[in-house]
Each structure stands twice: as C-alpha cells, then as structure tokens.
C-alpha cells in the first residue's frame, strides 16, 4: 500500500500574550491510501492543531517551527508555513505572519478542496448562513474542476438516444466502471459516465425508473451562449479574454453554476439526503445538524480528494445521528479510495470506524496501532489509563487519570507524561522517548 501523507517531526507553537504554547512537539505519522486513521486525545493535546497544520489553516498567531508534511506527489505542503521561523522563534511579528498566511492560502489553494479537504466539528457554524447549500457545494467544483462540469453537460447534449441505449445495455450486462468510461471515451462523451453510474447506484429508485433517467441523458438542448461557454471551458487553458468582461463572466459562471447544482444533487443523493433537489435550494439554517454535516461532507468529497480530515465530525451530534454519520463514513471509505484522518476525543467513536488509531498526548503521538490492538493491548501507560477511564455500557469499573494536563508553555522534560505516570523512572524525566515498533504496526513512545 502506498502512503498518502507522511508527517515528520512536526512542531507548531502559538504566540499569545501569556507566553508561547507549544501545541505540537514532534508529530510523526504516515497515512496509508484508503485507510481511516483515528487521532484521539484529550482537550489541548494538539489534535485539532495537527489537522489544521496539514491543510495549512493555522491561525495567524501560530507558527510551524520544524517538520514536514509530505503529500502524495512528494510535495511539502507546509513549506511556506515554516518560512522565517528558523531564527526568531520567540518573537512574534504580526505583519510577517499575515504575509505567511496569505502566501499559504495562495500556494495551497489548488490542493485544498481538490486533493485534501476538511470537515469541521460544528456543522451549525461551518456553513455560510447566507448562501444556498447547493451553491456552497457547487462552488468547490467550479473552483477546481470547471472542466468536468462542462464535460458533463456537453456530454449530455452530444449523446444520442443510441448512446444512452447502449450504456443501459452495458449496465444491464453488469459492466464495471472502466467499461462505461471506455465507451464514453470512445464516443467522445467524457463526463457522462459518472452521471450514469451515480444514477445506477442509487437504491431508492426502481430499475425501470433508473433506466428511464439514464435513457433521458441525451440530446439536451443548449443555448448558444451556454454552448460557447462550456466548449471554451472544456478546452481548458484558462479563461479567454472575453470571458473576463464583468457581466459576461458572471453569466458564464451562472452556466457552470447550474451544472454545479446538478452535481450537488447527485452528491447529496449519494450521501442519502432525502429530497436532494429541494435541499440544494435551501439555506443552512433550514436543515438539521446531521443534515448540515452531510452537506459539509459533500463539500469535502465533491472533487474526489485523496485525503479528508474529519475534525470531531460527530461530537456536536446526537447518538443516533452520530451513528448515521459513522455508517456513512464507513460506506464512503469503501466507495472511494480516499484516506481519512478522523480526529476525536472519543475513543469509542474511533473504535467504530478506524483502521488504525494514534493516541496524542501533549503535542505528540505516543502510541499508534491497529484499532483492535490498541483496545486489547495498549502499551503506553497513558493509553492504558485512558482505556480504563472510558465508561462502558456494560458497566465496568472505571478509573480516572490522576494529575492534570500539562501546561503547554513548559511541557515537562523527557516524556511529557512523566508527572502523571505511575511507572515513571528517572530516565523518563530526562530523555524524550523515541517511537519504537513493538509488534507489526504497533508503535509506542515509552
């Protein structure tokens, strides 16, 4: 299996008036393709900071002092974030930080949303209240893949009745994705295959109805302006000059936006949102928390990214709704070959969906292991105590962890857990423990 992401020795600190908080103190992490990696830890352990660093969304007063985040294509995502931090680590220069933030926003714009995306904790505040949800989904597709939208629509207008007939035949014969796209490619109908497959995979429709819908995906009438816009977008190579004239660019955007809404409806029906064609025209406040979180997930998945960071996606939701979202996450993992980083304070939630889990303490990952292993055979004392503290429905005795979370301004020397650890030795107070592989895939820093 290949790596999607490699984080090495990541160190991040926050500048505040009360001092410098060392939020991350050397995080190491490798993420495999198509896996769900869980990150657990208590409040203030730096798990959210880690997620934000990977996607480059740290607030202005945070700085990456060391470390790399290597993405699929050997690209170091946080290179601009490290800029200018090597020397003046304890001085804070707002103007310089703002410049760095702007630089990061610019450099990562093509990665964010298309290859890496993020889902935030509170679905109530993470959608823009004055924009329709369909727009918010469509926007991300228009930003990154305007061409695919143009292709979709043009394919529908170019396809003939015979084409759709042929596709339906293929589907009925049980053809797989490749076969359909090969057919589409050969007929110059790129963009039709996803639409066809998305309809075909819906399970709330009867066979005949699906066929009917697929058969209707041909000879769509296009206005002449629409056609010109779509064809020029299809050719790619940036916007032609005439499309930059204010009024026209708006109209051209409108053409793409309409197709973006259709795509949004497709995405939502995939995420089992009832009445997706009505939902896309709604505003966030008209939807329930679970529904909004689905919208945010739809935004995250719109461009088939390689990595999705889920930051406490279910913490604000009720148990039954949480179960819906967890089910959905499992389902999506099978459907796409996407990697997920699932951040949560709740180990029980992670145990439901994750392939591997990393336990964070004081800005470091102290133990990584496959889910079953970490629950059955935790090695790090912190992990062991954490496991004992979780109340279970079966009603076992639980035990708290003594002591308090360390002050992140002066993290204890050596192993950060040593003041709370019952087995701490003199060595623990001096030497920082390295990550060791104790068994296949089970790493621990103790």
């Amino acid at each position: 299996m290949d790596y999607t992401l490699k984080v090495s020795d990541l160190k991040v600190q926050f500048y505040t008036r009360r001092g410098i908080y060392k939020a991350l103190n050397g995080v190491d992490l490798s993420l495999m393709q198509g896996e769900i990696f869980g990150v657990a830890g208590e409040s203030g352990c730096g798990k959210t900071t880690m997620g934000l660093t990977i996607i480059g969304l740290l607030p202005v007063n945070a700085a990456v002092t060391e470390g790399k985040v290597i993405f699929l294509d050997e690209r170091d995502l946080i290179a601009p974030l490290r800029k200018g931090n090597t020397e003046e680590t304890d001085k804070f220069n707002l103007r310089q930080r703002e410049a760095v933030t702007k630089q990061v926003n610019k450099e990562l714009a093509d990665v964010r949303g298309s290859r890496i995306s993020m889902v935030f904790q509170d679905p109530m505040t993470s959608l823009n209240p004055v924009l329709q949800v369909g727009f918010q989904i469509a926007e991300t597709v228009i930003t990154h893949q305007p061409r695919s939208l143009a292709e979709r629509k043009l394919a529908r207008s170019r396809a003939t009745q015979d084409d759709t007939q042929a596709i339906v035949e293929l589907l009925k014969e049980g053809a797989d994705e490749q076969a359909i796209s090969r057919y589409a490619e050969s007929k110059g109908l790129r963009g039709i295959e996803t639409q066809v497959l998305n309809v075909w995979r819906r399970n709330d429709l009867g066979e005949t109805k699906k066929e009917k819908i697929i058969l209707s995906l041909h000879s769509e009438k296009l206005g002449s302006f629409e056609r010109i816009v779509l064809e020029s977008v299809e050719k790619g190579k940036g916007k032609p000059g005439w499309m930059k004239i204010p009024g026209i660019s708006r109209a051209a955007r409108g053409v793409l936006l309409r197709e973006g809404y259709t795509k949004a409806v497709e995405l939502l029906s995939m995420l089992e949102v009832p009445n997706p064609d009505k939902v896309v025209r709604m505003y966030p406040h008209e939807l329930s928390g679970g529904m909004r979180q689905r919208i945010v997930i739809a935004i995250a998945l719109a461009n088939n990214p390689d990595l999705v960071i889920l930051d406490e996606p279910t913490s604000a939701l009720d148990v039954t709704v949480q179960a819906q979202i967890l089910e959905l996450t499992r389902h999506l993992k099978h459907r796409f070959n996407t990697s997920f980083i699932f951040i949560s304070h709740d180990l029980s939630v992670l145990s439901e969906v994750c392939d591997r889990i990393g336990i964070m303490y004081a800005g470091r990952i102290v133990e990584i292991a496959p889910t079953d292993v970490i629950f059955n055979n935790p090695i790090h004392p912190y992990t062991q105590m954490l496991m004992k503290a979780i109340p279970r429905i079966e009603g076992y005795e639980i035990q708290g962890v003594g002591g308090t979370v360390p002050d992140m301004r002066n993290v204890p020397r050596g192993c950060a857990f040593n003041p709370r650890c019952p087995d701490a030795t003199e060595e623990c107070r001096i030497k920082k423990p390295e990550m060791v592989e104790v068994e296949e895939g089970h790493f621990v820093a103790c």
Binding site: L205, Q324, P391, I393
Partner: protein, 436 residues
C-alpha cells in the same frame, strides 16, 4: 418516595408567534412521571431536544410547570392514595395531598426547607460559578441562605467539603477562572452537597470534561451517594455514563418517557424500539452487535407527530402508531414516482381527502394492492392502510384510527409502545369510520 412527579407538563411559548391568537408552544416536557427513592440514582437519558434538561429544572421547582405535580418526601402510601384519588377523579382529596407535599405549594420557610434538602449541579462549570465570588462564597452560599448553619460555622463546613471533594483547603480563596474544568465541577459538587441534601439533580455533570477527569468526577459522585445516601437524578445524553452510575433508567424521547425500569433491563436489554436503536448505536461497545441506524432526526417539539411521536422513524411501527394521511400519501407518492414508476401511469396522482383518507387517481386497484404487498415490510407507513374502496374520485385508502400509547407494564419496566400493550381488547386497533 423522595421525589415523585405526576403528569408533569411544561410548554414554552415560542417568541414572536403570539401576534395572532395563541402562540405556538414548544412542548418540552409532556406528561412525565418519574420517581426517586432515597439513595437511589435515577438516570434520565435522551438526545438533544428530548426535554431532559427542562425536566431537571422542573423537579426542583426552578421552573413552574404548565401543569402536573412534583412531590417531595412523600410516604409511599400517601402517594398510592393520591394516585387512587386521581384515578377515581376525586380531585378535592387529591388537592389536599398536593397542598401538603407538592413543592410548588411551598412558600417562605417551607420552601427554604426544601431548598436545603435539594440541590443541582449543572453541566457547564464555566457558567455555573459566579466569576465574581471566590470558592468560599460559592460553597457557603446554600449553607447561609437556607439557614443550615451560621456563617462562622459555614467556613468550617466549607473546608470539610473541600476535603470531601478532593480539593486542597487553600482553594477556598481562589476565583473560578483560576480553576480547571474538573476543579470547577468539584466546587460545584461541593456546593451541591453543602447542606447535606437528600436529593440532588445532576444535569450533564461530566459532559464538558475530558474522559480522564470525567472518571474522577463520576467516582466521586458514587462515593458521595454511598456516604450520604443522597437520591440523585442523573441527566445525560451519555448512555455509558448512565449505565455506569444509575440504578433506574428513564429514556426520554420528544418530551415523554418512553421506557423506564431497572438499569439491567432498560440499558442491557432494551425493548422500546427507539431505545433499542439508541443502545445499538452507542459507539465502542465490547461486543459489537448489529447497529440499527434510524432515519431522520428528532422531531420538532412544536408539532410532535401524532400518536406515538417516534412512529415516523420507528423501524417496527404498525397500523395504529399515528400515521396520518399526509404521511402515507407522501410515501406512496414517492414509491409510485420512483421505485415503482414502471408499474404506474405518469398521470397517477396521490392526494388526501376530507375524510382523512388517501386518494389515488388514475391507477387500478390490483397495482396498488401489489405495491402494498411488496412494500409492506420496508415502508412502515403503509401498515396504516386498513382497506380500500373504489369510487369516481379514484381509489380511496382507509386508514386505521391512531391512538397514543400509554405506559404499559412489562415485567419490571414500563414501556410506552403498543407492542407491549396488554391484550385485553381495549387497545386493539380500530379502523377509521368502522362504525358505518
């Protein structure tokens, strides 16, 4: 009985809806009976919007109920008497008992007496401690205001309490913002037990805390319960916490209690369909069973679904659970237009009529019947169809009359589901308009 509520109801008027006629009402708590014995921890579990927080405040008289009673420290035989009077509609005698035991009838000193014997611990330790008072003032407040001790003794008591909740004595002169979340919650707990109350409401006492701290606070709570024999109502959405702490468990849904009984029954072998799904959905169980994923969200409490309010999401609901013609019609419409689009003509129209029945135009009976047959199991609302008739209007589907479930006894527990209704014929389903 330490605490007993009878038909407790709280409706909140919705802001901005009273301009024309009656304002819309948010039915937060709708006819709740719960009981707490001395030294017993009674859990109330439910999702957001189930009314559990409102219930906690009603029980202490912090909110005035729309109707219903809360009795404090009422002898079991008197309570039995009261129930009999109410059952026999002997309201005058019932009112006498209410006067004596209801906390809403207490004023002045007798109210203070109750305040001394009861208290509450809130979820958010950040907002439940006055930032302008130090820990000493916070903890001694209930002691002095209820006249439990004189103020010079109160200071001594405060130090004892700090010892008891495991905080150093010099914390007495700290301010809330100088404490961590767990320490604040300990202070809140010390305030809660300052007057050695007989009854304590715990409103999500650990939801704002990390697991490691939560475990400490829960252990402390259990210790306090055993050492002082305090009866508690523990309100939380966290089923694992309830399971760890409670003796009796009440499950709330949409302002009503839907299942109540001993923990081992209600949590470990739930029977109410919502509760079954809820327990199955709890993450991180040792033994992973099949999860029941409910569709949709918790109902809106302004217009809760008729009949059993869980019926629209219920995986096993049947004919009399509360299906309305509109619900049946919309499900049928969806099926006809999508899944069974090939069976029906495009002109098929589904609507409801004045009789409260569903009318289908441009379809024939055999199609409808076969659809009903095929979908009966999957689409629960179709179970509400009793019979069909044909007229010029089209095909008319007659629905069963729906009823609201009561609490039915089922071994040690009470459950509000028709599946567990006694088979005495009284509650068997009645079709609509069956008289004619």
């Amino acid at each position: 009985m330490l605490i007993a509520t009878r038909q407790l109801v709280k409706h909140f008027p919705l802001k901005g809806t009273g301009a024309f006629g009656n304002p819309l009402m948010l039915k937060a708590v709708d006819g709740v009976n719960i009981q707490v014995r001395e030294g017993e921890i009674v859990g109330v579990v439910g999702e957001s919007g189930s009314g559990k927080t409102t219930l906690g405040r009603l029980v202490l008289g912090l909110l005035k109920p729309t109707s219903g009673q809360v009795f404090f420290d009422i002898p079991d035989d008197v309570l039995q008497e009261y129930d009999d009077y109410v059952a026999n509609n002997d309201l005058k005698k019932a009112a006498d008992i209410e006067k004596e035991y209801s906390i809403f009838n207490k004023r002045g000193n007798s109210q203070k007496e109750i305040r001394k014997k009861t208290n509450i611990v809130f979820q958010d330790p950040y907002s439940s401690l006055d930032p302008r008072l130090n820990v000493l003032d916070i903890i001694t407040e209930p002691i002095t205001s209820t006249g439990y001790l004189r103020s010079n003794e109160a200071v001594k008591r405060c130090f004892e309490l700090l010892d008891e909740v495991g905080l150093p004595r010099d914390f007495a002169y700290r301010y809330p913002h100088e404490l961590s979340g767990g320490q604040k919650q300990r202070v809140a707990l010390a305030r809660g037990i300052a007057t050695l109350p007989k009854f304590l409401v715990l409103d999500e006492p650990t939801s704002a805390l990390d697991v490691s701290v939560q475990a400490q606070v829960l252990a402390l709570l259990r210790r306090i319960r055993t050492s002082h024999n305090i009866g508690m109502i523990l309100i939380t959405h966290n089923i694992a916490v309830i399971s760890y702490m409670a003796d009796q468990v009440n499950v709330m849904y949409a302002g009503k209690i839907v299942e109540t009984g001993p923990k081992k029954d209600v949590i470990l072998s739930p029977i109410y369909p919502y509760n079954v799904a809820l327990i199955s959905a709890v993450p991180g169980k040792m033994v992973k069973g099949t999860k029941i994923i409910l569709k949709g969200d918790t109902p809106n409490l302004v217009e809760p679904p008729p009949g059993c309010s869980f019926h629209p999401r219920c995986p096993v609901s049947f004919n009399m659970c509360g299906w309305t013609a509109a619900e049946v019609a919309s499900d049928l419409k969806y099926l006809i237009e999508n899944k069974y689009a090939d069976m029906f003509k495009a002109e098929t129209v589904v609507s409801t009529n004045a009789n409260g029945n569903v009318v289908i135009k441009n379809a024939n009976m055999s199609q409808i019947l076969s659809l009903l047959n095929l979908e009966k199991e999957k689409t629960r609302s179709l179970a509400a169809i009793d019979r069909s008739s044909e007229s010029e209007e089209g095909i008319e589907l007659w629905l069963w009359l729906h009823r609201t479930p009561e609490m039915y006894q089922y071994s040690d527990r009470l459950v509000s589901c028709f599946l567990y209704a006694p088979r005495d014929g009284k509650s068997s389903p009645q079709p609509v308009n069956s008289a004619d």
